[in-house]
């Protein structure tokens, strides 16, 4: 019996991946198209292809526990539906559900712009950082931490940035 790809549910799966993390075992079958590679056979599989596949396997990450904001009652499900938070506290209370790093407007999780007027906040005097450097450092540490979902996104951001700079 041929195995069907778990992502597109259409093509024949070419890759079988298992992840063992303590008690949790996850497995996944995917086709070449969904893995983002032209064709795949053990002979022509390059190590960079393999790295790319691993970085793309966001879905191997277990979905985070459902969260709820104690201030406004917004839940993970609410957020997934509306893509809006209910209050400022949601940014901490629904942190895992928000997945801020996935948003195209997010370059790094640290605000660099102006700060409110006379409200006791220390104005941020951060040096203007090199975007590319930040992202590359982020990628290395994410791969070390096995945060493949985030790593895949960051890798794409780097690729886009490099293309833009070239």
């Amino acid at each position: 019996m041929q195995k069907i790809c778990d992502i597109c549910k259409k093509n024949v799966a070419a890759i079988h991946i298992e992840k063992h993390a303590g008690e949790n075992h996850t497995q996944m079958k995917i086709c070449c198209q969904c893995a983002g590679i032209e064709a795949l056979s053990p002979e022509n599989l390059k190590s960079e292809d393999l790295q790319k596949i691993i970085a793309d396997l966001a879905f191997l990450q277990k979905p985070s526990e459902p969260e709820v904001c104690s201030e406004c009652g917004t839940t993970t499900v609410d957020f997934d539906k509306s893509k809006r938070v209910g209050c400022g506290a949601c940014y901490d209370n629904l942190k895992a559900s928000l997945n801020l790093h996935l948003y195209p407007n997010v370059i790094q999780n640290k605000h660099l712009g102006k700060t409110p007027f006379k409200l006791g906040f220390e104005p941020i005097q951060k040096e203007e950082v090199d975007e590319l450097q930040v992202l590359e450092a982020k990628l290395t540490s994410l791969i070390t931490d096995e945060e493949y979902e985030t790593a895949a996104k960051v890798r794409d951001q780097i690729a886009e940035l490099k293309k833009a700079l070239s």
Partner: protein, 352 residues
């Protein structure tokens, strides 16, 4: 209907008609800041009582803005349907806010400045200018932001900056956009390439969606996307240099277009002019298409007895809500189309 609304119905937005830096390729600049007030739920979650409290607080602080006498503040649920539609057609409010019950708007007499209250966020402070005026707009915007910020405690985190209802705006809360006339790139089939390269640079290029399902013609909105992890000044200066590249590309393609196919374009424009002159009924979409074609002729210098303001006035004032405001009543589709035909003729100097 008060004089402010009567005035609106009779003209297009002044910042869309005047010429400014880099016009006529850059028609106008819009810049906005999303802000929320600490300790309050966001508008989606606010009940009516708390929502109207927030609205009142914001209206009250707006009294300390410069030129307060020139500002008009409205709670949307106190306006009638025609008035709300008129603000909607001019993009001062959103569909969402029309139905919210707690939304409001502050607009200056000439429509250069507005604050949308309790829409997606508690406040969307917005500045509009003719042509390309990013630095001036930012200067004014941040000045007004500080006036509000001195009296209202904004929702802010050291990590994520200004907190917003949608994570898409968190950080600076800043969005910059320019309305562009890219007729040259559009007609020469280069728009899709530009959409792609805009994305690579972190911008978004979209057909200006005044009319659903109509051909976009040459009008596009280019806007910034990045908000977290980058300074406002950096956003603005990078955006400006990208826009300058777009202007160069458009200028080159217009020169080439006029050299290669001036007769084809002249034919297109003359036909549009003829149709506008001799017709009895015009639907909204057709009027839009024909007027944009006319505008193209203007861009390419094919008219001497017509100016951009006339065409912009005709474009804006031929919307259904505008026609009904002028006529002071709700009209049937047939009456709308008849009224539109003569309104457009009047605005472009072809009065019956």
């Amino acid at each position: 209907m008060n004089s402010f609304f009567k005035n609106l119905a009779s003209r297009s937005m002044p910042w869309l008609c005047l010429s400014g830096p880099s016009s006529p390729i850059v028609l106008s600049t819009k810049m906005s800041l999303a802000r929320n007030i600490a300790g309050q739920l966001y508008p989606d979650k606010l009940d009516e009582l708390a929502g109207l409290d927030v609205l009142e607080d914001i209206f009250e602080v707006s009294e300390s803005l410069p030129d307060y006498e020139r500002l008009n503040s409205y709670e949307l649920n106190t306006l009638n349907e025609i008035e709300k539609d008129l603000l909607l057609e001019r993009s001062h409010i959103t569909h969402n806010s029309v139905f919210s019950g707690i939304a409001g708007v502050i607009i200056d007499e000439e429509e250069y400045f507005s604050v949308l209250v309790n829409d997606e966020d508690h406040m969307k402070i917005q500045v509009m200018r003719p042509g390309l005026e990013l630095h001036k707009s930012w200067k004014y915007l941040t000045y007004v932001d500080d006036i509000f910020g001195k009296k209202l405690k904004y929702d802010f985190s050291n990590d994520y900056g200004y907190l917003t209802a949608s994570p898409e705006h968190v950080g600076t809360g800043l969005k910059c956009e320019v309305l562009l006339d890219l007729t040259g790139l559009y007609l020469s089939g280069q728009i899709n390439g530009l959409v792609q390269s805009a994305r690579v640079f972190g911008y978004e290029l979209q057909a200006s969606e005044n009319q659903d399902n109509r051909k976009p013609q040459g009008r596009y909105i280019l806007s910034t996307v990045k908000t977290l992890g980058v300074k406002e000044e950096k956003i603005i200066s990078s955006f400006k240099s990208f826009i300058n590249d777009v202007i160069d590309a458009e200028t080159r393609s217009r020169v080439k277009l006029m050299a290669d196919s001036s007769h084809r374009i002249q034919n297109l424009v003359s036909r549009a002019y003829g149709t506008l002159k001799y017709n009895f009924m015009l639907d909204e979409g057709e009027a839009f298409d024909l007027l944009l074609t006319l505008r193209l002729g203007l861009q390419l210098g094919l008219f001497e007895n017509l100016n951009f303001k006339q065409v912009e006035d005709a474009l804006t004032c031929s919307g259904n809500a505008h026609l009904q405001s002028v006529m002071q009543e709700l009209l049937s589709t047939e009456d709308l189309n008849k009224t539109r035909a003569s309104m457009v003729r009047k605005k472009i100097g072809l009065a019956d």
